[in-house]
């Protein structure tokens, strides 16, 4: 099976350059403010760079892995990644869980509800679709 390469290096290059520029913009503004003003966080505040690295590296992995997903499975892939995007549930728990003012917790609760809906429906429907794919009838 011949697979096309959907992302020529040029495109990836441009994308990564864009990410880099974004980073630059953040740096230019952010460093003085955070180091000077944020009390108690002085050491931790500027440490967002590792997160940017994690983002860049995961994006590369995503591009590499998704490009190799079988054409056959693009519909289940869409619902699987939809389910994965429900990872926002982690953020929802962090807002809904602690002893915050009730209106904040309400926002978190709604977010939690929405994410759980996605988790449940996303994984189940993906599995339902995949169950149907058979190489031959006997399986």
């Amino acid at each position: 099976m011949k697979r096309r390469r959907y992302l020529p290096p040029r495109v990836i290059m441009v994308l990564s350059a864009a990410v880099g520029m974004l980073g630059l913009a953040l740096v230019a503004r952010s460093d003085p403010v955070t180091v000077a003003e944020a009390p108690g966080h002085a050491a931790g505040e500027t440490d967002y760079w590792p997160m940017v690295f994690v983002f860049l590296l995961s994006t590369f992995i995503g591009l590499g892995v998704i490009r190799r997903v079988s054409r056959l499975l693009h519909t289940p892939l869409m619902s699987l990644t939809n389910a994965i995007s429900a990872i926002a549930v982690v953020g929802a728990i962090l807002i809904a869980g602690p002893d915050y003012p009730p209106e904040i917790r309400l926002l978190g609760g709604i977010a939690l509800f929405a994410s759980v809906t996605n988790i449940v429906s996303g994984f189940l429907i993906t599995d339902r679709m995949l169950k149907m794919f058979k190489r031959d009838r006997s399986e």
Partner: protein, 471 residues
């Protein structure tokens, strides 16, 4: 960052998410991929929830139970409704991201404005804008796909539309930037909501000019927005799992939308701003000469296919609309029993979402070994006795290859016209998604079989089985 044990779980979850997508490269391992993804999600939730500062258990359990109660039925929808479900689900995802961002902002604003560093504000604004756009945009897209009566199917266009949209987006970004530089300013009380409102509006206005049939591409793009919103949330909450999972998602949406654009031979910009298949365009096309055509009956089609040695079935959106896949599988079985070689030619954008035909045929229990990709089947087309087109139109339109004035010129197609005989099942001579005439139907070797796909295929099967009970 979270405590060590939580990060360890997050690390394992990240690895599992990567394997989850990796295993989707083959139908044999794909279900394992779903299991890995679900396990990763479980680890992420469990590790987060287990932290000591999480105390509102009752409230959260309620939300989870409600989520399961709504999510489970959503997972049982008919597969034809899968695109709508995905869109709806993106809307929920966008909503969650926007709410979390908003919550975190007001929390910091009231409890410690000095926490609102520029970096965090940029991330919060990005999260909220992306989340809101995804929310309303996906809702609207779901409505279009569900063909809700009060949502216009056709692209809605008006003068200066793109200018207005871009101005709106710039406004949101501008206010956001200002907020990022002055996070704790008194004006924030109304400026932050303004950003939210503008982003919500922009989500709708972005989708309004896009035709219902372009929705799958839009959904993939919205998927990548949802992923990026999760990444931004990760930056806000300093949470690596959100960043990795969100980035995987973002990459997935990006690649799927690029695949679709390529298969339709259109550019990204054209999909988003081109108002393709708008009323005006279609009208001009409709004026073109209506070709001559010949109709035939299912009975004679059955006779000819029975005697063929090599049949290629080309399904399209019509098969999905008519829910004809089970009848089609019966046809496949009958022909196979008679020793006819039957294969399915799958165009990458047949139907209304990538892989649409594959899922439908898999649902009807057709082994995927007999589904052939476009490039492979085109090579064998000249050796094909009968090409049976079931509710496909654009994906077999020779204009894409021959007529360089056609809007779909350059889109790769399945070359049904090279087969010895062509049967085409559809309800009328109306055009398909792209709204243009199809010369294949007026070709000498083509016979039209008018009617609903499920019914016509059922008739053919009845004839082949020589038994009235099959229909």
């Amino acid at each position: 960052m979270s405590p060590g044990y939580v990060e360890l779980f997050y690390l394992v979850a990240t690895a599992l998410f990567i394997f989850s997508l990796h295993w989707m490269n083959d139908p044999k391992t794909a279900r394992r991929g779903v299991a890995a993804g679900a396990a990763a999600m479980f680890l992420g939730v469990a590790a987060t929830w287990a932290q000591p500062f999480v105390v509102n258990h009752g409230w959260m359990v309620l939300a989870v139970v409600l989520g399961i109660a709504v999510g489970y039925p959503l997972s049982r929808v008919a597969l034809t409704a899968a695109p709508q479900r995905t869109a709806l689900s993106h809307a929920f995802g966008g909503l969650a991201a926007a709410l979390v961002g908003t919550g975190k902002y007001y929390l910091w604003l009231s409890e410690g404005p000095e926490e609102l560093t520029t970096f965090r504000m940029v991330a919060i604004i990005a999260e909220v804008i992306l989340g809101c756009i995804t929310f309303t945009g996906s809702l609207f897209a779901a409505g279009k796909l569900q063909e809700l009566r009060w949502i216009p199917q056709r692209p809605v266009t008006y003068p200066l539309q793109n200018v207005l949209n871009i101005a709106l987006l710039l406004a949101a970004v501008g206010i956001g930037t200002w907020l990022a530089l002055n996070p704790a300013t008194p004006e924030a009380a109304y400026l932050f909501p303004t950003v939210i409102v503008i982003a919500l509006m922009f989500g709708i206005l972005l989708i309004v000019p896009i035709g219902g049939a372009d929705m799958p591409t839009v959904i993939a793009i919205l998927n990548s927005y949802a992923g990026l919103a999760a990444v931004a949330m990760g930056f806000v909450l300093e949470n690596n799992l959100l960043i990795t999972a969100g980035a995987l998602d973002g990459a997935s949406g990006l690649i799927l939308s690029i695949i679709m654009c390529k298969a339709m031979n259109r550019s990204y910009l054209n999909v988003l701003f081109g108002a393709f298949g708008s009323a005006g365009q279609t009208a001009t096309r409709q004026e073109g000469e209506q070709g001559e055509y010949k109709a035939d009956t299912p009975q004679s089609a059955a006779l000819i296919m029975e005697q063929a040695s090599n049949v290629v079935i080309i399904p399209g959106y019509g098969m999905a609309v008519a829910q004809a896949q089970h009848r089609v599988r019966e046809l496949y079985d009958h022909l196979k029993k008679r020793g006819v070689t039957v294969r399915f030619a799958i165009h990458p954008v047949a139907g209304r979402m990538p892989g649409h035909m594959n899922v439908l045929l898999a649902e009807a229990d057709v082994p995927y070994g007999d589904l052939v990709e476009m490039d492979d089947v085109n090579r064998d087309m000249p050796q094909c006795d009968v090409a049976l087109v079931i509710g496909a139109n654009d994906v077999v339109n020779p204009a894409a290859a021959l007529d360089d004035s056609s809007p779909i010129y350059g889109m790769p197609i399945i070359e049904a016209r090279k087969a010895r005989t062509v049967f085409a099942i559809k309800r009328s001579m109306n055009p398909g998604f792209a709204g243009i005439e199809n010369a294949l139907y007026s070709d000498d070797k083509t016979w039209m079989l008018f009617g609903d796909a499920k019914h016509v295929v059922g008739e053919i099967v009845k004839e082949l089985s020589g038994d009235a009970g099959t229909g």
